[in-house]
């Protein structure tokens, strides 16, 4: 399903000629197959279980954080969003301490935008749309960058690639968590009543 029929993005010598903004152009991988394999589901499931055991009590926020961290771990840090999640989780306690100390760490806004990235994003969106549509596209790309963790100021092709991987990972996470909750509910149903009622 890896579709790059045109010869331009595929051959490796193309990296030497890439103009401004674009890094080497690897062919876009198919993330759906990577995240849909049964092995990955098993890996994530076990990690999720361990994370759940570690959470102290039923707090949805802790559970969600654990699930996201497990997902990012399963991604093996190859994608930007996974690294962002892991770093955010790891630095959370430290950041809390710092914020308590004096509000020193403010990660919400980064005033000094890297100019090059902004130009890249603008140029990329400019190419995509013709005429007045390009600002709509640009706006949506920005929104997408906010949704995907760690991809706020990313040029369009990298952002789209991260978004594809993130969507595939999220789908896997949702299905795994749903299966887990169903299994848990079933086990709970079977185990909580007394001996008389047979579960399942």
């Amino acid at each position: 399903m890896i579709s790059s029929p045109s010869p331009s993005p595929s051959p490796s010598p193309s990296s030497s000629r890439t103009p401004k903004g674009g890094s080497a152009t690897p062919p876009p991988r198919n993330q759906a197959s990577k995240w849909r394999s049964g092995a990955v589901r098993g890996v994530y499931g076990r990690r999720l279980l361990d994370a759940l055991r570690a959470t102290g009590g039923g707090q949805p926020r802790a559970v969600k954080a654990a699930a996201d961290s497990a997902l990012a771990l399963t991604a093996r840090g190859q994608t930007r969003w996974s690294r962002a999640i892991l770093l955010a989780g790891a630095a959370c306690s430290r950041r809390r301490v710092l914020v308590k100390a004096g509000g020193k760490v403010r990660r919400r806004r980064r005033p000094p935008l890297p100019v090059q990235a902004r130009d890249n994003a603008a140029a990329a969106a400019l190419l995509k749309g013709k005429g007045k549509e390009k600002d709509k596209v640009q706006e949506r790309l920005r929104v997408l960058g906010r949704l995907v963790p760690g991809c706020r100021k990313l040029p369009a092709p990298a952002l789209l690639e991260e978004a594809a991987d993130y969507v595939a990972a999220l789908q896997m996470q949702v299905s795994a968590m749903r299966a887990l909750t169903d299994a848990l509910a079933a086990a709970q149903l079977s185990s909580s009543p007394a001996d008389a009622e047979a579960g399942r």
């Binding site: 193309s14 092995a39 279980l49 699930a67 997408l144 789209l160 594809a164 185990s191 047979a198």
Partner: protein, 348 residues
């Protein structure tokens, strides 16, 4: 129909053509083993030659006799020999014609399907006829490309095709070919490829056209997925405090086994790198706790547990403790089964 018999030089007289023609046809008749089409094609093109003014025909004939006689003419031009401008059907003639630039304009356009296949083999047969190759590619490329003159095309074509260090972008019909637009087009194609991937991933995007709407759909999908994750985590948190986690492993495996259809053993082999100790020892606990909590009712966990037992024994306890800081685990006290066992029991 290339024959060794005709003389090297031909005086500009029609009689010579006849003389050349006679042995040509005879030799082509003799060489009928090559296919009646070849002989017929040979005769046909010669006949077409006769339709030309003599001087030009001689001109064309002259260098043709120079090359080695072992030029194999494809029988394909034979049927194309029927129409009026029949000599372009002769691919070799097309070479010469293009080289002399006399018939360059009409020749590539009219028999556009026929010459492209034959010229490469014919040109390749010409040892050292480099110019003919480039002109062939030029004439061939003229049908494909537009906006390039015949002079610059060989150089441009070579530049596009044969410089290994550059982006191999074929300029499409009707598009500019300067470096800026090429780069922009490459970038656009990159972005379009990623968009295609995303469209396939997100359900319901294929019928939407237009980048903005597709991006809308993608954003909605991501938001809905994130909301589902939050909802499911809330449900999990509600269910969590009352269930033992030792028994979950088999449930999860069953689910994964049913859904994904893979064996436990395979799963373990794949995740050897960051397999926490807890999981494997949890399997042992599973065996112990099963009778307590599940009343031995479920057939699946027994099977699964037996598999786990086998696997747990054969599996050396070599685990990298890369996770502990993340999940608040303390796996430093490893090696003994007692600690996880007590930990599990205290959790319960």
């Amino acid at each position: 129909m290339r024959h060794a018999s005709p003389p090297q030089e031909l005086p500009a007289a029609g009689g010579e053509i006849q003389a050349a023609l006679a042995p040509a046809t005879s030799s082509s008749a003799r060489a009928g083993a090559r296919g009646g089409g070849g002989g017929g094609g040979g005769g046909g093109s010669f006949t077409a030659l006769l339709g030309l003014p003599t001087s030009q025909a001689i001109e064309l004939l002259l260098p043709r006799t120079a090359p080695p006689p072992a030029l194999a003419l494809a029988p394909a031009p034979a049927p194309a020999a029927a129409p009026a401008p029949a000599f372009p059907s002769d691919p070799h003639l097309v070479d010469r014609a293009a080289r002399f630039s006399t018939f360059a304009p009409p020749s590539p356009s009219s028999p556009s399907p026929a010459p492209p296949p034959p010229p490469p083999p014919a040109a390749a047969a010409n040892a050292g006829k480099r110019k003919a190759d480039t002109v062939d590619r030029a004439s061939k490329g003229k049908a494909a490309k537009k906006g390039k003159t015949a002079e610059e095309k060989p150089a441009g074509g070579d530049g596009d095709d044969e410089k290994p260090a550059y982006v191999h972008v074929r300029a499409r019909r009707g598009q500019a070919t300067d470096s800026h637009s090429l780069a922009e087009r490459a970038r656009r194609e990159k972005i379009n490829a990623r968009m295609e991937l995303l469209k396939e991933l997100v359900p319901g995007c294929s019928k939407v056209s237009g980048t903005a709407l597709v991006l809308d759909e993608i954003i909605n999908h991501v938001q809905s997925l994130q909301r589902q994750v939050e909802y499911l985590s809330m449900r999990l948190a509600a269910v969590n405090p009352r269930v033992d986690f030792g028994g979950l492993d088999s449930f999860l495996t069953t689910e994964c086994g049913r859904i994904a259809g893979f064996n436990c053993k395979n799963g373990i082999d794949l995740e050897q790198v960051t397999w926490p100790e807890m999981g494997v020892h949890g399997a042992r606990q599973l065996m112990q706790l099963q009778q307590q909590f599940w009343h031995g009712d479920l057939a699946h966990p027994h099977q699964v547990a037996s598999q786990w037992e086998k696997r747990g024994d054969g599996h050396p306890p070599v685990f990298s403790n890369s996770n502990p800081s993340l999940f608040g685990y303390d796996l430093t006290s490893s090696g003994t089964q007692q600690t996880p066992a007590t930990k599990l029991k205290t959790e319960l």
